[in-house]
């Protein structure tokens, strides 16, 4: 049984989310392990400083993975996501404290293709009021 929304139930302009996610240092470590991205700039202050960064920043791919949640929470079945892409426009700095960085995600159905029964969804990610992803969009196979 398909969990994915039926094409007929979706309209252009439908809103997804919002989703608020906290990125703390523990999440960076978990994500590094889960994704096999062990780039030192995401956990070593001295390495980050040596390449001119003012702190530890989240993996762009972590921001993207969290943005993907807006789409999969809506689609219910992550297997319905056929394409997902983004540009990385701004860094998310993650302080070494109990609070971390807070990123707000929203999405909207931007276009529908009745032939393919797909939805084009755009995602916005904001950190400190500024977008951190550019042109983030997914193609979802509706049921």
């Amino acid at each position: 049984m398909s969990l994915v929304p039926a094409f007929e139930s979706v309209s252009v302009g439908d809103k997804l989310g919002p989703l608020t996610m906290t990125i703390d240092r523990a999440r960076l470590i978990r994500y590094a392990g889960a994704s096999s991205d062990f780039n030192r700039i995401h956990w070593s202050e001295s390495t980050a400083a040596s390449v001119g960064l003012t702190g530890i920043l989240a993996h762009g791919m972590l921001n993207m993975a969290l943005a993907g949640r807006i789409v999969t929470d809506w689609a219910k079945d992550p297997g319905a996501v056929k394409e997902f892409g983004t540009r990385f426009t701004r860094p998310v700095y993650v302080p070494d404290d109990a609070v971390g960085a807070t990123v707000e995600f929203t999405g909207v159905v931007a276009a529908l293709d009745p032939e393919a029964r797909t939805a084009r969804v755009t995602v916005t990610a904001k950190f400190n009021g500024q977008t951190v992803l550019g042109g983030a969009k997914a193609l979802v196979q509706l049921s």
Partner: protein, 149 residues
């Protein structure tokens, strides 16, 4: 120093396959705080029509890491990783990637172009099943900051 143009357009098939693991999918879901049952509960994934747990949309990064790093960290390529910024990333799937999939990666440097002193590397990795059938493609752009950037 620009990267060696001899790498552009050449397929780099990685000899070792990547086998998608149930626990690896759960670890990834945990890292992004996602309790979607299709990442956790094999029975739920099966009742949604999948052979096993489904990988999250960006899970392909773990699949392609070794194939990509093999080339990106080859000293002959001449990439100064300390000056690299991730420009963009895109995943295109022909079918969902599920636990138990065995995938073979072929990596390509599609393009190298200089824009305002920064070098843009267009990367692509194709993921194929053991029969050679394409399952999905991962695209990425790395930006090597120029000396003035």
């Amino acid at each position: 120093m620009p990267v060696d143009p001899a790498f552009v357009g050449k397929p780099f098939p990685y000899p070792m396959s990547y086998i998608v693991g149930v626990e690896k999918i759960r670890n990834f879901a945990e890292a992004i705080g996602d309790d979607n049952p299709i990442y956790w509960d094999r029975a739920a994934a099966r009742s949604a029509g999948h052979p096993d747990l489904v990988a999250p949309p960006t899970f392909g990064v773990s699949i392609i890491t070794r194939a990509q790093d093999e080339v990106l960290f080859n000293p002959d390529l001449g990439l100064d990783y300390s000056r690299v910024v991730h420009g963009d990333q895109r995943f295109v799937l022909r079918r969902p990637i599920v636990a138990g999939d065995e995938l073979f990666c072929t990596f390509f440097v599609d393009s190298v172009r200089m824009v305002q002193g920064n070098e843009f590397l267009g990367l692509r990795t194709e993921m194929a099943d053991p029969d050679g059938e394409l399952v999905g493609t991962v695209f990425g752009t790395l930006v090597v900051r120029g000396p003035d950037a």
